[in-house]
Symmetry: C2
Subunit: 506 residues, 2 copies
């Protein structure tokens, strides 16, 4: 597959991880910066991945009784004023619409005209406007639970942006539910976290730790924030999804009242939960290598690319006929709730062709030339293996074993990511060791360092703040399955009941 | 099913069509006005319909090689300045973002802060920003054709709004393609019109006329605008989709250049095509009756509602077990690329229960009580039949015949709509007759009148303008399949080569 080449992506992960990330996205053709500050264009290869994630997750939501709806893009400013705490968290940096017309300006160009009496905010989240609807939709316990999800674009004005990880506009889903009892709302909070875990682990092949945020890291206004935390290959944490139990706080702010079975009046108990295109950043940083992206088969935009090989023009017709027929056969196979997506690439560009698909991370590359045809075999390269490691397989065996191979790749990616995370997770009980681990040796250009430190914490926000201040390390979560364990706080030495996950984070 | 009731919706279509439309939407629980001027909240029942439309149409797009992508919500003002003609058509009334922060104002509330040097427009269409991307993505004939579609929300500041038909924000898809030759682009323009026709006729069960817009009604900047036009039950036309051949105009404005096979440089030939949530308004106005919405089975949010009937509490368990089992059986049946969606409604609200589902337009209502169970039969009401017209059917026959019944309903709705349209379409050759037909008898509260007039036109824009001015009647389209026919222009009497479709329109 082309002339010798060390790696497709420069710099490598070790050389410069942030720059590697940008280059991988470029090389895979998934997305690019938009001409609008802080925004991105999601290109077909990246968007198809998003569509697959959406389709799977949407199916999981619906299986729990959730229904989709759509709420307006614009939010009246006074909606945000109602919820002071919420605004502190979110709406400070957001796009504000103040005019509803363009007019010819004095210098010929277009200028804003038609000022609005009440400016509108472009939703940074739909929390408040969904709350307003809920207050109208709910009047009796019979209307509960109300289980609503929205797939939409949101805008948060970001100063430093990175494609998929932090952009001014991004795509996401936000679920909002209202319940008659706290028990039911808490159950729902956990249920949706489990859906996220299932999605991220079983489909994106990213291992996560399920946990609870500390008060300092909690969603503004939430009683309890659950999250899933994953480790990227620079050993930083990425929060891949959150699920909030909002108690009655949100219902009080939005006026979601209902008549109980006993004819009393009460406020509903609500939850909210969200994930976004950020997951794509997590997928790239979990599986990508120095040759590009690696797509987990269950969400891959395409599963197999067929690469016809012919030297003489007269071979072309034969090879293409064989390839087309194989593609038709493969496209009838179902895998992870989809028909297999098969690409045929017959561009005459030499070795660059195979490399293009390696960089895009397609799970399987299949070369087919006259010699393979003569033996009725195919020459298969797996993206999770080295790029030279290719195997000849009888055509029939390849077809009948294809979904197993894809499952193997899916599993391999997950296991590899688990191993990486475990290798970079340590129980740290000593303050000096903790500080040393989270301090890069090179200050100018920090090397990849640290990881997940499982360390005792006394529960005091002051200790949490000190560590954040000193090292830019935060408590990612208190694992839901942690065991009680007597210890001494990694910061102050006071008694601790158990370990929490400390890490640098995206 | 409840006590005698003449009609579920008041006023009826004949009494007050526009008000009937609002009441039907309310009664069906599909959508409601948002607290933001001119915007709507699409509720679960309405949004599920949209999801089904999206899924089907998306499949059709992809089958023609189109890929989805996502472009930013915001458009720099100077992008709109580039295309003068385009701006005249669209961008005058649009939301303008001028600030990127909210700050505490002098009176305590929040006010816009952080003024932008260059204001941004919330996309009224993504034409220009997609053009910018295309100009970067295309450099050689090898990059063509480029076939891209986007599903997104767009904003056009509307003063008079009606849910689904004209709202400040709506959901839509816009397809954009670039080609190396005019022939190929023209073919694509027609191909996508055919996709729309198939979607609207075969799935929404709305008959359409495929045609070409006159120069006056053409999309700004287009060389040719094709459209599909449907007749609503107030006999007005609704444009349900458009497909534009843009020649090289758009490529010139956006700089979409490519190197040809002969190594010359040329501008690409482009097309664009779009449909929106407006189709839902069309569906309601085509099929709805004085009892509410009627959902065509192929896109219905749900296909069947099971209504358990029991008088004594001890019957409940038995009936519910029977109903659940039936639901499970039905949910395994595939229909129109989906698993059947089956609702169970066991609310204890008497006759209102059945009426709720009639108003929502679910294709089939199935009552099941102890007597039905004893005979192993079900009691079935079809939404396309009168609400009293219900039939007992053996359970097995119902299950095995279900997809046939749904097909029958789908077909019946389409045939009924065809009949209605044909009954209200006339060849009109006489100017007086034309004016009389399009003039309501009651001026104060115009009754339903007019329809589609197939009348000769000389081709002169002045005649078109006169008729629009006099009657608010426009040329909806020049039918693609019209026959040459010598005649005299309905307006000026000069020679005409064929008939065009005149109508009042949404
Ligand atoms: Zn401490
Ligand atoms: Zn004329």
């Amino acid at each position: 597959m082309g002339k010798p080449q060390k790696n497709a992506i420069s710099p490598t992960r070790v050389e410069d991880y942030p720059e590697w990330y940008q280059q991988v996205i470029k090389a895979s053709d998934m997305a690019e910066r938009a001409p609008v500050r802080g925004c991105m264009v999601i290109k077909p290869w990246g968007y198809a991945l998003w569509e697959n994630i959406v389709a799977q997750m949407d199916r999981m939501f619906k299986a729990t009784g959730v229904k989709n709806a759509y709420f307006p893009l614009f939010i009246p400013i006074n909606f945000l004023e109602q919820e002071a705490e919420h605004v502190e968290g979110f709406a400070k940096e957001c796009a504000v619409v103040t005019h509803h017309r363009l007019e010819k300006g004095p210098e010929g160009g277009l200028v804003p005209g038609g000022p609005l009496t009440d400016p509108l905010v472009v939703r940074p989240t739909s929390e408040t406007i969904i709350g307003d609807s809920f207050s109208k939709w709910v009047s009796s316990y019979r209307d509960l639970p109300l289980l609503i999800n929205q797939w939409a674009n949101v805008v948060r004005w970001e100063m430093r942006t990175r494609i998929f990880l932090r952009t001014s506009e991004f795509l996401w889903q936000e679920g909002h539910t209202a319940h008659a009892t706290d028990t039911e709302a808490i159950e729902r909070t956990h249920m949706m976290l489990k859906v996220y875990t299932r999605m991220v682990q079983d489909y994106l092949a990213i291992p996560v730790i399920e946990g609870r945020k500390t008060a300092a890291e909690r969603f503004p206004g939430a009683v309890d924030t659950l999250c899933i935390e994953a480790m990227m290959q620079d050993r930083k944490a990425l929060q891949a999804g959150t699920s909030h139990f909002l108690g009655q706080n949100f219902a009080k702010a939005s006026g979601i009242r209902f008549q109980t079975e006993k004819e009393a009046e009460d406020f509903a108990w609500t939850t909210s939960w969200g994930t976004s295109t950020r997951m794509i950043g997590g997928l790239i940083m979990t599986h990508g290598d120095d040759d590009g992206v690696i797509m987990p088969p269950r969400v891959a935009p395409a599963h197999v690319v067929l690469l016809p090989i012919y030297r003489k023009p007269e071979e072309r017709e034969q090879v293409m006929a064989y390839v087309s027929e194989l593609a038709d056969t493969l496209r009838k196979i179902r895998y992870a709730d989809r028909d297999l997506v098969v690409e045929i690439d017959d561009r005459d560009i030499g070795g660059a062709r195979g490399w293009d698909w390696i960089k895009k991370g397609i799970p399987l590359r299949v070369e087919i030339g006259p010699r393979d045809m003569a033996k009725d075999s195919v020459f298969v390269g797996r993206r999770d293996h080295g790029h030279r490691e290719k195997t000849a397989m009888p055509r029939e065996a390849f077809i009948s074993g294809l979904t197993d191979i894809l499952d193997e790749i899916q599993d391999h990616l997950f296991q590899r990511a688990c191993r990486f995370r475990d290798d970079n997770t340590r129980k740290v009980d000593d303050r000096e060791e903790f500080y040393a681990w989270f301090t890069p040796k090179s200050v100018e250009k920090p090397e990849i360092h640290g990881g997940f430190a499982l360390s005792p914490w006394c529960g005091d926000a002051a200790c949490e703040a000190t560590i954040k201040e000193d090292l830019n390390v935060t408590i990612r979560c208190i694992p839901l399955d942690r065991e009680e364990e007597k210890g001494k706080c990694i910061c102050c030495g006071k008694p601790s009941n158990g370990r929490v996950v400390f890490a640098k984070a995206y």
